[in-house]
Symmetry: C2
Subunit: 226 residues, 2 copies
């Protein structure tokens, strides 16, 4: 009796993860590290990038800017003389509330991968869906502004659980808020124990050096000793 060997594929990646792996392979070939940068609308992602992106010792950075519409943030970052590519989800992607691997892949031909060491992908402002889609990143960073309240880790746990660094932004406003930082950190540790976190103010610059150093480390080029 003739036997045919049947190979069973145990687990197929969904389409998004398959494309994310292809993106990751292309980034790796180009020697580019990728950060997926996420937050709610208005948490301060763009300003936190403006603070550091043109001044990363030994690291050439580029930005892929995701928005439903417009290029306000891309224009701000382009003024810093770093390469910025705009990806709008409104045209051709149905006004999606997040970036996915396929959208990022569609932008690859426009990205100057040979001229950069680090690509920061500023995702659409949203605490839900961006966390569900890998795009081929090496690390995920989220911003949680203290003006949003202490309860956000409990209400949007996937976002807080799947990131590698939490930037707690707008701490210059703490004296003017009824915000209990210890309670926020307690909630954060509940959904993602010991995740790295930094207290920062994009407006005053407080804590921004640590954020800059973190990006340099991710890019694999430790800051040269002074």
């Amino acid at each position: 009796m003739h036997r045919t060997k049947v190979t069973i594929v145990e687990e197929a990646l969904d389409a998004n993860n398959t494309i994310a792996q292809a993106n990751r392979a292309d980034f790796d070939r180009a020697g580019v590290k990728v950060v997926n940068f996420m937050s709610a609308p208005g948490a301060g992602k763009t300003m936190l990038l403006e603070r550091v992106v043109a001044d990363l010792p030994g690291v050439r950075a580029g930005v892929l800017e995701g928005d439903v519409q417009g290029s306000l943030d891309a224009d701000r970052l382009a003024a810093k003389h770093v390469p910025v590519t705009q990806l709008n989800t409104d045209s051709g992607f149905g006004g999606e509330c997040h970036l996915d691997a396929n959208m990022v892949r569609s932008a690859l031909p426009q990205l100057p991968l040979d001229d950069i060491d680090l690509l920061v992908v500023e995702n659409v402002g949203n605490l839900v869906c961006p966390a569900e889609f890998r795009i081929g990143e090496d690390a995920r960073v989220m911003v949680s502004a203290v003006t949003e309240g202490e309860d956000k880790p409990l209400k949007y746990p996937l976002m807080f659980r799947t990131c590698d660094l939490v930037l707690v932004n707008k701490i210059d406003l703490l004296p003017h808020l009824d915000y209990d930082l210890d309670r926020f950190l307690h909630h954060l540790d509940h959904v993602h124990p010991d995740v790295e976190r930094m207290l920062v103010s994009a407006r005053t610059g407080e804590g921004v050096d640590a954020w800059r150093d973190w990006l340099v480390r991710v890019a694999g080029r430790e800051r040269a000793l002074a």
Copy 2:
């Protein structure tokens, strides 16, 4: 030759709009007005409801609370002794970033429609997708906190364009922010000319009376003259 009359349906509603109309018919039969209440995460929806929901002259209000996970906001509002129903998108709805007409319909049997005049549906915190899904509401209200920056109408135009009232919240923080209110209002009028707007602070109570009066008007019961 035999002729068959063919009736062409010019425009079919999509499934969401069909269900939204069914919801609306049920709300109308019960004499309940419905407000779809939307914002980014942490803009202050729940606190703005806490301020007014138990104190609407002549109006019995209920709340349908939409969250990805948990019942933090529902618990806060239940403490005000108004009927609150929790709808979690995580269980059974795939962690959706918005409420749609079908999710609201699934909650109808739990809603005390015979005992209320006004139902406020607190949507998931998100400035993108909630604007795309009618749920059977009479009016849409959005909250835009001044801590989110002036550019939000330009970045999330559908949300600002499809609402009937914009609550500009957290104005108590204006002295501590680099926020240009005139610029925000200019952007707002660009995407939605002359939309009704109110400057409020859920924290201090400033402007909250106007918000309360607006809800009473929507419920169709003008405040009795004192």
